[in-house]
Symmetry: C4
Subunit: 241 residues, 4 copies
């Protein structure tokens, strides 16, 4: 009944109890920090689309593989809010996750400032010339809707370790689609960390926060509908949704 399923705990590997909340918060902090450090840290250097997309995708794979079994591997305000609406997180967990992620994002941004200096956008996502705000929003919104649906569905019948690769590959597909057009955040923290430390606030920045949170919520709603369609009129005795 715990969320998420814990697979690390156990005396044989010296972790003598399931991960307590403090450890899960630490993992969310570390993971969000490193997603920004390695993802935005690559985008900050202006490399080509494939390089930037692989940077975000593969850091997602190893973060979810390593820390997912501990904290669920959100690293994303959108994911946490969607899981909160799902009703399996306590209030203290929800707030803890969001605060830890925010702190991690800020540490990630600060590390990038130390590495690249103040005359760099630190990989803050931004619209490319010719891309309208509406299309930028659409990319963020559609891609996170898909990502959210895949996360809810695939983790419902796979472990976090098994889900790490497909989730990372959805990130890959999404960045290939968007990174050269709207800069692709898919994650409010991915925008926040670099934006704070590079002082690059723009009026269209809402698309990197409202977009992913809205997308994750829609993805969750679609997943619930999907489950309801699946289980509707079940031929065994118990009906659920």
């Amino acid at each position: 009944d715990h969320f998420p399923k814990l697979v690390v705990g156990g005396p044989e590997n010296e972790f003598v109890q399931p991960a307590p909340l403090r450890v899960r918060l630490l993992c969310e902090l570390i993971g969000t920090c490193l997603f920004i450090f390695f993802g935005a840290g690559c985008a900050a250097k202006g490399h080509d689309l494939l390089t930037v997309s692989l940077a975000h995708a593969l850091v997602t794979v190893w973060l979810v593989y390593v820390f997912g079994p501990v904290s669920g591997g959100h690293f994303n305000a959108g994911a946490t809010i969607a899981f909160a609406v799902n009703g399996k997180m306590k209030i203290v967990e929800i707030i803890g996750y969001l605060v830890s992620q925010a702190i991690g994002a800020l540490i990630g941004g600060a590390l990038l400032l130390a590495l690249y200096g103040s005359d760099n956008t630190l990989g803050t996502p931004a619209l490319s010339p010719g891309v309208t705000v509406w299309r930028g929003f659409l990319i963020e919104f559609i891609c996170t809707t898909i990502l959210s649906f895949v996360i809810f569905f695939t983790t419902s019948y796979n472990t976090q370790k098994e889900a790490a690769l497909p989730i990372g590959l959805v990130v890959f597909s999404s960045f290939l689609l968007g990174a050269d057009r709207d800069g692709s955040a898919l994650n409010p923290w991915r925008w926040l960390g670099p934006a704070v430390f590079s002082h690059t606030y723009k009026s269209e920045a809402w698309i990197y926060t409202v977009g992913p949170i809205g997308g994750f919520l829609l993805g969750y709603v679609l997943f619930r509908i999907y489950k309801a369609i699946w289980n509707w009129n079940a031929d065994n005795q118990f009906h659920r949704m």
Copy 2:
């Protein structure tokens, strides 16, 4: 005896029955839509061969990994027709799969139109200068023959989750060979969706529909011959083909 093997159903993950047909059709619709959205969506931007090939290959990997255990992960009229000939799908399933895929392909094309506007080919496959229609057809036909054979053979002794990577890698090899020469569809829907919404019908477009369907059928025939050669003169009591 069900086709395909269902591995998601089960009360412990809240899917209380094997995926009913309506859910499998939904998965085919979603998967075909996303293959076109992410695949053609990358090709539409004119990136290099490696980027476009990885875009199609890796979206295939995660689509088959996530939705394959539900619907078999066809997302391709060629695959569905070959499985239909194989005789394990009912008429209603065959029609349902094809209609769902067509709807998904059109939604995918429409999303790309929203993202890229009407002055874009939306990644519709087309022959590169200097590539003859015959050679374009040959690429589509040979590559889908190989893809079909690999799908039939590898899914006969692997789960969909295990088969996702090799199938995606066949797509990778095929796009590397063809994406810079005939645009590579390997899939009638991959041509249809973008073509309808970009109004780019060309006289050679048949190679992207006849080619893959013919290739998938030949791949299936070769697989049957392969199985017959394998089982011929079996030294245990029961002979089958």
Copy 3:
């Protein structure tokens, strides 16, 4: 006691007996043909080092994953000769494997001729300007020595399906090192197929045949020495090598 371990056979998937020799030869023919078709077919177009290296590496991964459980996944005269020296193949198997691979290589070369026409080298490996014959030979020889050692060692405690990824990645590392310097064959057939159909025989072509065969034999010898060092003075009752 059979070589190689068969994992496909079994009535539940309609392969009612372990793969007979005729099927294993067919798999070697198909695999060698496709390695050349997709590998040389990419190299023939003059793409960058990363693209060409991934082309050869990932086709290796899926070929070994799909056909390795049937035939062992040699697709390489060097591998077959080394396994022959290892003493677990019968004379008829050795000859059959080599003949099948040669036929596959020629079919692969012929397909490339059909696709690219006669004014193309069809990806035949060749020394780049400034690379001496000695250094070209060294690349072929060292890389196949390493590949051979890894194949013998990793398949001794992994299935073919598990070994597919590391073996493909050794091919990746080797092509990254050599594809832009000596064209990298690592495999006599990879040279033969394209060379025959593009009529590009050069005096240094021996490095693509002698190099890989010599390397595979040295890799096998090193593996035997490695095993002897490992088992020497074993503290349990039975000593072997």
Copy 4:
């Protein structure tokens, strides 16, 4: 109680005893040699960031996959020193690992000299123009701290074979961040081998030795703190750290 967990030994695959120390030292020598041969061998040719990063990441994956189950797959003085501080290696093991790795690094450097000649830096890491020593050090130090933490954590609940991919992907992320700025070693031997044979000693070379060793030690300390936070106040009877 043995370090590391041995999974290769066993009569069924002809390795009749757990890997003795001499074999583990041999694997460290081979692995360190090949990491430099393929990693620095690619960097020596001046390819783009993605190619160089994949070269180091994927050689790490297959080296850890193949040799990790035998020797633990250090191939890095930083890793060995951190594991030594961890207290599970004997003095003779520690010295043996370091000496074997050094010999392997020198053989790797010598092979590169044979392949590329004396007018090549052989991929010795160096600061790019405009990157300060402090920032170069920071990249080495932070990335190896993360790598060390991930190695200690992920190998505590995964086998070496399972850990090969995430560890290789951390190397990928790190090289993407650093390879175009400080040349990225993450490993004293990665600097030593090429530096000795290309005679490219520079005053800032300490960042490639002190950085990784310091980073691996800090990563280990952080892992101990992490484990202590996890196990603190455990609700079952036994407390450990």
